[in-house]
Amino acid sequence: MSSQTGAVPLLVRDMTVAYQKKPVLRNVNLSVPEGKLIGIIGPNGAGKSTFIKAVQGLIPTASGTAEVYGKPFSQQRRSVGYVPQRESVDWDFPTDALDVVLMGRYGRLGWFRRPGKADRQFALDCLKKVGMADYADRQISQLSGGQQQRVFLARALAQEAQLYFMDEPFAGVDAATERAIIQLLNDLKKQQKTVLVVHHDLQTVDEYFDWVILLNRRVIAAGPVKEIFTAENLQKTYGGRLQVLGTQVLLTNDKTSGEADAT
């Protein structure tokens, strides 16, 4: 896809988002390279989720544009996959795991077509890739948190996108799921897909990601992990709440900041 146009997977120009006149994100300018796993890092309320929602047009922006492979987002929906936060949906909804994964196919079906046999087979393959094939007909409320997260990832795979946005996929999952997600991210990378992941855990950043975007209401720094993920930049991103002890980074539990989690 990129070879035809030479355009980058995601280009954000001058994006500002405001909730009730207070800017949550200010003048975000970004150009994201292809085939990389990219962590979006920043403190609570830094606007990480807001950023990936605004780029996809899910919340109104005060200004700015987002281009996917050289075209406006609205023309490129089929090349974009999205994994919302797990808590954003009602897991008591009457449906099973396979059906949730099938929802990933809806974007390709247009207005009237229903998912067919080929779609079901594809969805099943996606469940297999996250190690959930045995749970295809399991009611979603009967799944553990980690299993629900894997169903969400399988659904994103079913979207067959080039560019993925994942909102905290590692939040509150078990070790098996964490391994499954990392495996999956690396598979996607091998296929030259680009993945942006909202991430919380500073300890694992250099292990999981190639690239990092440090965000706190604005882009503090963005680039390859080795160059950008430095104590100095982290200090800028987290302010006084961060302590760097040798090679270890610690987040102090500073509750006085009083920032609501706008993620």
Partner: protein, 293 residues
């Protein structure tokens, strides 16, 4: 024959409400359905005054306009600092009261009385028939609710995947380009239509029961959305049949008996549902206790 028409009309009302009610309760909007069912009253009265007739079409339009206005006002209020449940409470009582005032002001012109608006009178349904080309086509109410039901089935059937995804995960729906707001208002339009068509038969209060109780019952009995829709409609039909039998046995209000039956069916589902049922869970607990001893 009258019995047949009453049961048919009741069954269409209950099935139609139960069908849309499933989407309302899954989106946690049962109370918004409640609000619409009340607030459409001024719409009906104004349509009535303007058209001077009890034709279904102007009433549907009036109800849809006010129904959507309700949804819009509720959204506006809750986005501007009013709590969602308070926003619903304020909006529908305000609009309903306007309706009540209008009805009492124009009682001379309006052939609607408050008792009928609140409680409906399904027993009179067979006498208000629709004449078409000199042929008696049967009760007007049955045609009205039947047509609206058909429209709901058609639209939801056609856009089932959109309605499902908008209910389960609106964020993904929006991301892949489904017009979430459009489908929200489409659903609310159908709810307004259904409510006004059901109005004459069961009244504003019992419509709410029909929107919520059959679908809540179905929710307890299945784990598949399309099965839930069918069960909900089936429960609606049972309510109508057994409600009528109960009412004629006790010589009481038909709409009231229908609702009582729906409550009873819900209770049965609550006690004996295969997965959530109280009895099953109690038995399972007991078995575990005996097993450990």
């Amino acid at each position: 024959m009258n019995t047949f028409w009453i049961i048919l009309t009741g069954a269409l009302v209950a099935a139609s409400c139960g069908f849309l009610g499933c989407f309302l309760i899954l989106r946690r909007m049962a109370m918004l359905g409640d609000a619409i069912s009340h607030s459409i009253l001024p719409g009906i009265v104004i349509a009535f005054l303007l058209s001077g007739s009890r034709d279904i079409l102007p009433m549907l339009i009036g109800a849809a306009v006010v129904g959507l206005l309700t949804v819009f006002i509720v959204q506006l209020l809750s986005q501007n600092g009013v709590k969602a449940d308070a926003a619903i409470g304020v909006t529908f009582t305000a609009l309903f009261s306007v309706g009540v005032v209008l009805v009492s002001l124009y009682t001379a012109q309006v052939d609607l009385d408050l008792d009928c608006v609140l409680y409906g009178e399904i027993a009179y349904v067979p006498w208000d028939t629709w004449q078409w080309g000199g042929i008696d086509m049967g009760p007007r109410a049955a045609w009205g609710i039947g047509g609206v039901f058909l429209l709901s089935l058609l639209l939801v059937g056609l856009f089932f995947k959109q309605f499902k995804l908008c209910s389960f995960d609106p964020a993904l729906a929006a991301a892949i380009g489904i017009p979430v707001v459009f489908f929200h208002y489409l659903l609310m339009t159908l709810v307004s239509f259904t409510t006004v068509a059901a109005f004459e038969s069961v009244g504003a209060i019992l419509v709410v029961a029909m929107l919520v109780v059959p679908s809540a019952t179905a929710y307890l009995l299945t784990e598949k959305l399309h099965v839930m829709l069918f069960i909900s409609m089936g429960v609606g039909v049972l309510c109508s049949v057994f409600g009528y039998l109960l009412a004629s046995w006790m010589d009481s209000s038909i709409a009231g008996s229908m609702t009582a039956v729906s409550g009873l069916l819900f209770l049965l589902a609550f006690l004996f549902s295969p997965r959530h049922g109280m009895v099953i869970r109690m038995l399972a607990r007991r078995r575990m206790r005996l097993g450990t001893n």
